[in-house]
């Protein structure tokens, strides 16, 4: 079993030893000479999102694939095989055919700059935590994976509590409210059929799993997810799932749910009773106690649904990490744009004050009291949070039509999501939990 730091070390060490400079062997370490296609990920790329699917499929087929961190926007080297060329043509993914000499030059450039070549060895098994009923919003990760044609499995509370998470390398959470308060839409959308369905499904799941209330069910699920990360899983969460997962973990013995959710009012002293040692990325946050305000705490900086506290959207800037020393954060921020327009979600951002010291900030809005994109370790695994709901629908509201990614093929925001899907592929050994 490999601990995360060992994984990072092995990846970084392998990369540092792989080539010795200009004039190096064009072959990857220990491999026979194989022709490669370069999938550029800078502005020469015509479909960045499908390029991830192309790389994923190449890894899944067992072909030698490398992620060239910081080289032309985080390009890929994939095997030059008919299947890859065919897939690239069908998907509209731009590929280049470098000669051996070109590849040597590329490796020389990588060696001499803040770049690295990371072998991608195992296609990660992907799970998306998603309820079986359709809610009137869309999950950006599901859309991104579908569009990029990266396979995934849907899991929900029964699978999580049934121990199925160990079947997967990567888990994604999106809009779930782990405080069990139905995103606090209860009063705003009372009477809406989708809300009634959501409540009934959740209550039925709680009954089926022998848990007294939906908030209690979600806390149990949150703890399982935490254990999954501790055991070596990779967690990626967006929007409400980030903040409410933190709150559910910190509130393991405290009632933070409004009466409509569990029949009892919130503990009036809940704020003081939260146990932040159990949370993964946040601490010392304060709850939003109004049941009619669809906001949860001051972890979120933008407070999109909190009248009087809502903050306008700006733009966030990705940090530039050392590809050779910090390959994991470097992988997570590979993009052809350094500055990306911000986008709302019920949780859009993370206030700096509530971040734990060990958190790695991947992207921030300079000068603002919040950051956008954070990452951290827990046990043998990692968690990564990206605020906001849909990078290409900045004002996303309930009932808005779904985003058509064929109209956003070069979306820098969606690239951040797909970086997360692919980075577990860089692991050197089987994930065990």
């Amino acid at each position: 079993m490999m601990k995360r730091r060992e994984f990072v070390g092995s990846v970084a060490g392998a990369a540092a030893l792989a080539w010795t400079g200009l004039g190096a062997d064009p072959r990857p370490r220990g491999g026979a000479a194989v022709a490669s296609l370069l999938v550029p990920m800078d502005d020469a790329q015509t479909n960045h999102l499908k390029a991830y699917g192309l790389a994923y499929a190449a890894v899944a087929r067992g072909g030698h694939t490398e992620w060239l961190l910081n080289y032309r926007g985080g390009s890929f080297l994939v095997p030059d095989e008919p299947a890859v060329r065919r897939a690239a043509t069908l998907a509209g993914v731009a590929v280049e055919s470098p000669s051996d000499a070109d590849v040597v030059a590329i490796r020389g450039t990588i060696e001499q700059n803040n770049m690295d070549a990371i072998p991608l060895e195992k296609a990660p098994r992907v799970a998306i935590y998603s309820p079986p009923f359709a809610a009137p919003w869309d999950d950006a990760v599901t859309m991104a994976l579908q569009y990029a044609e990266i396979p995934f499995t849907r899991v929900w509370d029964p699978e999580v509590l049934g121990g199925r998470l160990t079947d997967f390398d990567w888990l994604h959470l999106h809009h779930e409210d782990f405080t069990g308060q139905y995103s606090k839409f209860y009063l705003l959308y009372s009477g809406a059929q989708w809300l009634r369905d959501m409540m009934q499904e959740n209550q039925a799941a709680a009954r089926q799993l022998g848990v007294p209330t939906v908030p209690a069910l979600k806390k149990a699920v949150a703890r399982r997810i935490r254990s999954y990360v501790e055991g070596g899983g990779f967690l990626f969460a967006m929007c409400t799932a980030t903040e409410t997962l933190e709150l559910a973990l910190a509130a393991h013995d405290v009632d933070i749910a409004a009466a409509y959710a569990d029949g009892t009012p919130m503990d009036p002293d809940a704020d003081a009773k939260l146990d932040w040692s159990q949370a993964m990325g946040c601490h010392d946050a304060h709850l939003v106690i109004e049941p009619a305000v669809a906001a949860f705490s001051d972890i979120d900086g933008h407070q999109v649904n909190n009248p009087g506290r809502r903050q306008p959207l700006g733009a966030f800037e990705l940090f530039n990490f050392s590809a050779k020393i910090d390959p994991v954060p470097a992988m997570l921020v590979q993009c052809h744009r350094q500055v990306i327009p911000d986008f709302y979600g019920i949780t859009s951002s993370f206030t700096r004050r509530t971040l734990k010291n060990a958190d790695i900030v991947l992207a921030e809005e300079p000068g603002a009291p919040w950051v956008k994109y954070i990452h951290g370790d827990l046990g043998r695994g990692t968690w990564t949070y990206l605020g906001g709901h849909d990078p290409e629908d900045p004002q996303h509201q309930v009932y808005n039509p779904p985003t058509d990614l064929s109209l956003h093929q070069t979306s820098p925001g969606y690239r951040l999501i797909l970086n997360n899907v692919l980075f577990p592929a860089a692991r050197k050994r089987e994930l065990k939990t």
């Binding site: 065919r86 043509t89 069908l90 998907a91 509209g92 579908q146 569009y147 044609e149 705003l188 809406a192 649904n305 009248p307 009087g308 809502r310 903050q311 306008p312 700006g314 004002q395 509201q397 009932y399 039509p401 779904p402 058509d404 990614l405 064929s406």
Partner: protein, 579 residues
């Protein structure tokens, strides 16, 4: 968001406070011209200089706001707005500009503070609350807008204040019944809101429409305004008959108002498709004619006749037109206009002979240009009947481009391809409307591909298509294609496939597209055939087959201009993007 912006425009019209005509109008005019030319910095400088001299010049202040917004200098607008407020704290425009500037700069808390100062300066005015509500609605924050309206109603002790804004808040929150009630009251107080009300309520889902209607037509002092909104809504919801019945029960007593209401209803109904809408329009116009001045009445009757004809009620249309044509009390112009409308009607219903007789009998009363225009109309009627000689005769004295186009079609249909191609090319690509110009260009391309001076069978096939017989045209074109060679074959087959598809013979169309793709894979027609075939297969649920075709297109023709479209279609049939 676009809907809200459009609605804001509609809403801005009725209560607009027109600023007093100030000195420096010519300077404002110059600044407006600079804005029109996109010289925003120059315009802003001119507005600023005006405001230096006259801080409360609202025209200049609003102009500066527009110009600064374009060049990202909201802070400059803010400074001038504050200066205007310092000079006149009762100036609502200046307050409004300050609040908008702060909101646009992302300074929400400062904007809220400015709003409080505005309220303090004008304690009895709904304007600050209205502005805040509208800004909140435009930025997708209906809750904030609702809070502002509730506060206004409390403080102003007026439970109906800002009804249009509350109606929009309710609509944004899908509370359609409340939105209907608010709009009913708003229109009762200010009838000019009627259009905005209908626009706002139109997206109500089918399940909410009955309650919306019930609330709008509930008895009470606001009932007539509610019925007017209901009539508009029913039109929008494709219930024109009910809409017309609803409107008739809501017509106001003053004739001028009644006439205007009938005119606007008729115009909206006339713009819709379907015989029901056309009949509603026809009846509204006919009723309007009874209230209008003689000149306007003539136009209303002609429009009414056209709408009756479009509704398929030829007798009603002719009844109106004959009354006008025989009305000896009417002037020559009235009778001529009636005759022209009758000719249009007769041609439209496929009776160019009667139309021609009517034109001949009109003598010298009709002006030359009108006569030529009607002659071309009649010639097109003969083309549709397949009578090429009479079509040519109808335009014999006409030397216009329109007549040349008809001569071109006559030549093509007679099989004189080189002559027809020359005439159609000579008309030019830009002549005609959106339907006929591409059709003409495509035909010229077809003739170039066939590259024959004469080919009677092709002309006859195209004539069949021109007369609306797509199925037989398709078969005839297939026969023509079998006798050709080279690139012309797949091009003619692709026309045959298109006509088969428009004749709802999907099997024949698919067979032809398949033949083009498989037997002529390198032809210019092949990518389009693959795409059309894929769409046809997808349309009948064969998604796998469609995907295979799209993949074949992309892989075999990677340089084709149709490839981006094919990739998008492929994503759709594979369920990778929303359908």
């Amino acid at each position: 968001m676009r809907r809200i912006a459009e609605l804001a425009l509609l809403l801005a019209l009725p209560p607009a406070l027109l600023p007093p005509r100030a000195v420096g109008q010519d300077v404002v005019q110059r600044a407006l011209e600079l804005e029109e030319r996109g010289l925003w910095s120059d315009a802003a400088a001119l507005y600023s200089s005006m405001l230096q001299a006259e801080p409360v010049n609202v025209l200049a202040l609003l102009g500066l706001e527009r110009a600064d917004a374009q060049i990202g200098r909201r802070d400059s607008t803010l400074a001038y707005a504050r200066r205007a407020i310092a000079a006149d704290s009762t100036n609502a425009t200046a307050w409004s500009v300050e609040v908008r500037a702060l909101r646009a700069m992302g300074q929400d808390s400062l904007a809220a503070a400015a709003l409080q100062r505005w309220v303090a300066a004008l304690p009895g005015s709904p304007a600050p609350y209205r502005d805040w509500a509208r800004l909140s609605l435009q930025s997708g924050r209906p809750h904030d807008a609702g809070d502002a309206v509730v506060l206004a109603r409390q403080r102003l002790h007026d439970p109906t204040a800002l009804a249009p804004e509350m109606a929009q808040v309710s609509a944004a929150e899908s509370d359609w019944a409340q939105a209907a009630a608010e709009w009913r009251d708003a229109v009762a107080a200010q009838p000019a809101y009627a259009e905005a009300a209908a626009y706002s309520l139109r997206p109500a889902p089918a399940s909410a429409r009955e309650s919306v209607q019930r609330i709008l037509i509930a008895p009470g002092p606001a009932s007539p305004s509610g019925r007017r909104i209901a009539a508009d809504l029913l039109l929008g919801w494709d219930e024109p008959g009910q809409a017309w019945a609803m409107l008739q029960g809501a017509l106001p007593s003053p004739e001028a108002e009644r006439l205007e209401l009938l005119r606007s209803f008729g115009d909206r109904a006339h713009a819709l498709d379907g015989p029901g809408a056309q009949r509603a329009a026809a009846e509204a116009y006919e009723m309007a004619a009874g209230l209008a001045s003689p000149d306007d009445a003539l136009q209303f009757r002609i429009e009414s006749a056209r709408a009756y004809a479009a509704a398929g009620d030829r007798d009603a249309a002719l009844r109106l037109l004959r009354v006008m044509a025989r009305d000896t009390a009417s002037g020559v112009e009235v009778r001529t206009a009636a005759a022209a409308a009758t000719i249009e009607l007769l041609v439209g219903e496929g009776n160019p002979g009667e139309a021609e007789r009517l034109l001949d009998s009109s003598g010298d009363a009709m002006a030359g240009a009108d006569r030529a225009s009607l002659g071309r109309l009649i010639a097109r009627g003969w083309l549709r009947r397949g009578d090429l000689d009479r079509a040519a005769a109808a335009i014999a004295p006409d030397s216009s481009l329109g007549a040349d186009e008809i001569r071109g079609w006559v030549a093509v249909y007679r099989g004189n391809l080189s002559e027809g191609g020359r005439l159609l090319r000579g008309v030019g690509a830009g002549f005609g409307d959106r339907e006929t110009a591409p059709q003409r260009a495509a035909t010229v391309a077809l003739l170039a591909a066939v590259s024959r001076d004469t080919l009677a069978a092709l002309g006859a096939a195209l004539l069949m298509a021109g007369r609306g017989d797509s199925v037989h045209a398709s078969r005839a074109l297939v026969a023509v294609a079998r006798g050709l060679a080279g690139e012309a074959v797949p091009v003619v087959l692709s026309w045959a496939a298109r006509f088969a598809a428009s004749g709802r013979d999907a099997a024949a169309a698919e067979g032809l597209w398949r033949e083009i793709a498989e037997r002529y894979p390198t032809s210019s027609a092949a990518p389009a055939a693959e795409l059309a075939l894929a769409r046809s297969l997808a349309g009948r649920g064969d998604l796998k087959g469609a995907a295979a075709r799209l993949e074949a297109l992309i892989l075999a023709h990677p340089e084709s201009a149709l490839v981006p479209e094919a990739r998008r279609e492929l994503d759709r049939v594979r369920g990778l993007v929303p359908g």
